[in-house]
Amino acid sequence: MPPSALRATPFAEDQLALIERLLSEATPDQLHWLSGYLAGFQAASSPRARSATSASGVATAPRAPLTILYATESGNAEALARAARKEATRAGFAPTLLDMADTTPATLPAATPLLVIASTWGEGDPPSRALSFYAALLAPDAPRLDGRRFAVFALGDRAYANFCATGRALDARLAELGAERVAPLVECDLDYAAPARAWTAATLAALAPTTEESDPAVIRVDFARLPSAESDDGDAATPASFEATITERLLLSSSRSTSETWHLELDAAGLAWEPGDSLAFAPRNDPALVDAVLATAGLASDETLRAALTERHDITTLTTPGLAAYAALTNTTMLPASFLEGRQLIDLLESSPARLTAADLTSLLRPLPPRLYSIASAPEFSPGSPHLLVSAVRWQSHGRARLGVASLDLIARRSSSEPFPVTLRPNPHFRLPADPSRPIIMIGPGSGLAPFRAFLQRREAVGAHGKTWLFFGARNFTHDFSYQLELQDWLASGVLARLSLAFSRDQPEKIYVQHRLWESRAEIRRWLDEGAVLYICGDAKAMACDVHATLLRIISDATGTGADSAAAWLRTAVADGRYKRDIY
């Protein structure tokens, strides 16, 4: 059916455009999958299907085994995998949920279908704890997977060049090893919630045991639960939301600092957290930027749109698909990818101003994702009042002052009298060791100090005797030493055994935490030999990479082995829970 045939359908003009665009770009595989999906969707949505689901139940049917394997860094893939498990159970499967961090290709449950949900991290890397599995699967000696059925859901961020690289690689490698792809790879940006639900449903449908009375109803997916796009709220395991107000906002850095680090105290009665957990909230865009975007698009008077741009849409991030979409909308030549460097949506709109409709403009925008901040206090220390350490993000590029969306919302715009919802994002992979006598090494420059303040408060509260070593860094000792007096007190009391400091701009040569790590390499090795757990929190782009590279050097230097075995050592440490990262 040529796309033009759709003209005879009951779709509205803009819906038609979307369908046409999708169909014209789809591969045969995708079209095939979509036809099955639509059949399942239609059938499951019918009253008959729903009653069949609820009435017939699945209790008597033998449950088909299913493995749901996830690779997660920040917890999104894990949350999706949990949601998928719920759906799979409902659909009559006997699902097994597996974290890639805890398994190997060789020990995957035999012969069961495989649902893979994998996020991509930073510039195209697998999540750190999944590295070991990933490497083993891509290794030449990986076990064959002939006949095993699979589907991959990939999470990523279009702001990075190697979008969804991990999911892509896993998808390709599983097929290469002989597995049978039952659904094409789905790649998702930040607005993954609805596609994830659709993918789960369709894939489960495709995997459903076929019987002779193969009625679409046996897919047993409760499509009725599918929320509309407007009520998107992340995933099925939506965490409880708490009303919070900001009770204290204190600029920690000196009035002479070249940066701004704020200490925030929130009143969030009832919130119970563990040191290492994060708090999520929905930021609002800078009203001045919203105005600028609206004005440039010729939509300054659309108050509904203004509200939507303020609260729901990402109006800063610019991606390659965004350039393409804008070129299509405005009938202009697509700008080269180099335009992205240091630029945002407003720069694109201003590059060739065009009067847009509200729908045109929003079609360019991704949803505004919630923002996470590591909680900087332990619940024993500030019950019901999580502390946050917020670095104000401000920079200049292409002649324009840019403001971080979430940080400026928290420190400057959000009224302290206005309650706002926050949700707890537990971080089970970034917790203090259960054994309070175990030594810990914490590397947390800048706002990466936050969870370690919570760690130290916890260790103080429980009287833990394990040695603690903190690496902190910032620009200037005098102006940027966050919580200096508290850290001095912990040094004096022994809660903090060692403190290594790196201030980059105090001297002609830049000194960062990785330099202090290297200087202390012999001692670091001793601590690791004593079983120390290594934590890294903070900037993912530069700091975490540099620290990781330095740790590799330290290990290969100490063991006299090559980089490969040092990498293997670190992978084992990740698998053993001795190398934990919370980076952003």
């Binding site: 204190l250 920690l252 009035s255 200490h263 000792f477 001095q488 290594s500 001297q507």
Partner: protein
């Protein structure tokens, strides 16, 4: 006997000035060092300070005080090579607050050196063939000498300043050990403080050498003052002055500034022995119980000048010859180009309050770097906090002149400003009670208007300000002295001699900015209308009974106006 002051114990237990300074430098979480160690680092030319502007906000921010160190160089006679200047300028940018501070002791201070930069800064100074040893502390401080290179005896006087400084230097290797090479003295290697002893002096000790007719070193303000006597173009020797000093404490009349007493004449070859003997007398006789009465001036007041003289003769094994005549004309610096012999010329660059920094319209730091890079002569720091670009050859002069003019450094400011001088005070000095360096320029601007309106702009009047009564800018030897009492409030002193030979007298207590202007305006007005020919402002106010003259330190607090006596 009263108990020894706390500092005496610190010194005695310091293992010749080591204390636990090295441990303190290694403690990275704090910008400070232990309190006792902060007394000891002074002997190494290093003060622990903090940025007092930041004090109010620090506690709220969960930060300790904004600690930082001041490092003061030892530069006897104030002579640097251009390469040394460039090295110090680089240290200022890389390890300190980006400025250099020239001081009244003819040296350079680096301010705002945080602890992690202290060793690198001191090592940089050492690499520049300079040091900070004994620039502060209970020792003989930097020896200063008239910087006028046009004098035929300047080379000999400069050499004498260097020789005295070296002779009286602590012999402890602590400075090298702590800041430079980290190598402790090996057992068996003895350091012996033959002159200073292991508790060093009871208090600071200052020596200055003047070359008349210039009293730019304020030779009467030092524990030991030496007036070079030139006879037929040769250095005949020195008149010796003992017991000068500036410091006092508000509200304690038994503390006072004092001009040195003239006690005789020594030949150049007797000079080191005289200096050593005066130092050892003070070592043995000085008050080690009360640091406020520990300077040589109080020792001499207590024991009597005659006793001191005979002890000196006893220790020297000879009596000093009778003093020879000399004549001083001024205590301030000349200004601009000075022509010397051998085709060399010199440029005396006015540096407002000694601060070398780039300011809008006047790129002093940058300009001097350019000059230093081009200059093959010397840089001489003056005791008035100015800078002499010395020994400019005939062929180089156009180049230096061009650089001065390009950086807007050639045009001289008003005479009033050129003869004004302030100590550092806030925000770095821990002793400051009020602003000084940051405020004096504003006050001078206001006074300039009065002076101009009275047609006094061609008169030279010395004005000196300090943020506390300790007197680093020697305010009690100025015609107009302003001494900080509390923020924004100053005591006004008048009558110090233009040539630095007479102390001033308190004229008004606790004046605000407006109060200072109101107090001085009528005096300037009557000076303008009824001064005698060539009469100095200080002499005028005494002749007119505005204040009584101070004839010696002992009567500094006496003969006040009736309403001030309280």
């Amino acid at each position: 006997m009263p108990p020894l002051s706390r500092n005496e114990t610190i010194k005695a237990e310091s293992r010749l000035l080591r204390g636990t300074i090295a441990d303190g430098l290694a403690a990275a979480a704090t910008g400070a060092i232990a309190e006792d160690d902060a007394q000891l680092t002074k002997f190494h030319g290093i003060y622990l300070q903090d940025d007092r502007d930041l004090r109010p906000e620090r506690a709220k921010k969960r930060m300790e005080k904004a600690y930082m160190f001041m490092a003061r160089l030892r530069v006897p006679g104030g002579v640097l090579t251009p390469a040394q200047w460039l090295a110090m300028e680089r240290l200022a940018r890389e390890r300190a607050n980006g400025t250099l501070r020239l001081t009244t002791r003819q040296t350079i201070q680096l301010h705002g050196v945080i602890k992690s930069n202290l060793r690198p800064a001191i090592q940089g100074i050492h690499a520049g063939l300079l040091d900070t040893i004994a620039a502060c502390g209970d020792v003989n401080r930097n020896v200063i000498a008239s910087p006028i290179p046009t004098s035929p005896i300047h080379p000999e006087v400069l050499a004498a300043a260097r020789a005295i400084s070296a002779h009286l230097l602590p012999k402890s290797r602590a400075w090298h050990e702590i800041f430079i090479d980290g190598t402790p003295v090996t057992p068996g290697e003895e350091e012996e403080e033959k002159i200073l002893g292991r508790t060093y002096l009871p208090r600071k000790f200052k020596i200055a050498l003047a070359i008349p007719p210039f009293n730019d070193v304020d030779v009467f303000a030092h524990d030991l003052g030496l007036v070079a006597i030139e006879e037929e173009g040769r250095l005949a020797g020195y008149d010796v002055l003992a017991g000068g000093g500036m410091g006092m404490t508000h509200g304690e009349p038994d503390t006072f500034p004092r001009t040195g007493d003239l006690i005789g004449f020594c030949t150049p070859d007797q000079l080191l022995a005289v200096a050593e003997a005066v130092v050892t007398i003070q070592h043995d006789w000085g008050d080690r119980a009360d640091r406020k009465h520990a300077r040589l001036k109080y020792t001499i007041e207590r024991r009597g000048l005659d006793t001191f003289r005979s002890e000196l003769a006893h220790r020297l094994g000879l009596s000093l010859a009778p003093p020879r005549p000399y004549n001083f004309t001024r205590s301030g610096d000349p200004s601009g180009w000075l022509d010397g012999e051998n085709g060399l010329s010199h440029f005396l660059l006015f540096v407002e309050n000694g601060r070398i920094a780039d300011r809008p319209g006047r790129a002093l730091l940058t300009g001097l770097s350019a000059i230093a890079a081009a200059h093959d002569g010397r840089f001489i720091l003056t005791p008035n906090q100015n800078l002499l670009i010395a020994d400019i050859s005939f062929s180089q002069r156009p180049r230096i002149a061009e650089l001065l003019s390009r950086h807007n450094l050639e045009a001289p400011p008003s005479l009033l400003r050129r003869n004004a001088m302030a100590c550092v005070a806030l925000p770095t000095c821990g002793l400051a009670l009020a602003e000084s360096e940051r405020y004096l320029p504003t006050l001078i601007t206001a006074l300039e208007q009065t002076i101009a309106s009275l047609d006094l702009a061609s008169e030279e009047i010395t004005i000196r300000m300090t943020g506390c009564p300790n007197g680093c800018a020697r305010p009690y030897l100025a015609e107009i002295g302003l001494v900080g009492v509390r923020p924004g409030i100053y005591n006004l002193y008048l009558g110090g001699a233009f040539d630095g030979m007479r102390l001033s007298k308190l004229y008004r207590r606790e004046l605000t900015h407006d109060g200072i202007l109101a107090a001085l305006a009528p005096l300037f007005a009557s000076y303008a209308s009824s001064r005698l020919a060539n009469e100095r402002f200080a002499d005028f106010v005494i002749r007119n009974g505005v204040i009584r003259p101070t004839t010696s330190g002992k009567n500094f607090h006496e003969d006040l106006l009736p309403d001030l006596a309280a």
